[in-house]
Symmetry: C2
Subunit: 152 residues, 2 copies
């Protein structure tokens, strides 16, 4: 396991723009490249959940030669820096979004509909897990499956 080794402080402050993130990258010994900038622009411009493949398509609209593996490598690094997080919403590919807007997810196992769940919803569970097991939950990573209104 140990999927977030060496990650820096959560939701690092001062990373509200593409250029601020690039400055952070530089601070950590990274280079500022055009694929990195384009990926960040895609992430900042539309704040939804997107798979690596979808992000690659957006980047490739500007720079067709950027390879999917570059997208994965850059997402990895941005995750290590605490700028991006990924979540699993179902059995398909992971989805990525800015760490700043992190939240839980309810996903219908019937139709795939997704509801963004504000963190407060998890406060009770969070408290109980802490009290009973000394366990600090992070409700963002895996979706909570179930049935939505329409599929019940």
């Amino acid at each position: 396991m140990n999927r977030s080794p060496g990650r820096s402080d959560d939701a690092a402050p001062g990373v509200g723009t593409v250029e601020e993130v690039l400055a952070l990258v530089r601070e950590h010994g990274g280079r500022v490249t055009s694929s990195r900038r384009l990926l960040l622009r895609a992430l900042f411009d539309t704040p939804g959940h997107r798979t690596a493949e979808e992000l690659a398509e957006e980047v490739q609209a500007q720079a067709p030669d950027v390879h999917l593996s570059t997208i994965y490598r850059n997402l990895d690094e941005l995750e290590r820096l605490g700028v991006v997080v990924h979540a699993h919403l179902g059995h398909g590919p992971a989805t990525y979004h800015l760490a700043a807007g992190a939240h839980g997810h309810f996903v219908c196992e019937e139709c795939g509909a997704m509801i963004e769940a504000p963190d407060e919803l998890f406060q009770g569970l969070s408290q109980t897990a802490r009290d009973r097991f000394d366990f600090e939950i992070n409700p963002h990573h895996f979706a909570v499956l179930g049935r939505c209104r329409d599929c019940r």
Copy 2:
């Protein structure tokens, strides 16, 4: 999506033993084969969470020719019959166990430690999701990640 099409009633009664499950299989037009019986024995004998590969190894200890794909196909059918469920506890392979003992999971993202979470822990969240979104959660499928006592 729609990962559980045509699944019969949850936690079907009278499937507390290998032979009872095999009777159920037969009722649904399935055949009783030795690989099926061995897989069920593995599932009933040790009630932990195991991956398809681990179950295959256990079955192969008795019948070396049983192929991993047979394990997957049988697990699939048993899941359709409501006898088995699978859960995702991390980034690796899915784990399978008997549906009768279904429960939620807390998994440490640092060390991988897993805590079985009784359903009552999710009652609050369950209620809120129903009230706010008309969403009926199934807290068993994806683990809730976080940090365990030792890794905090």
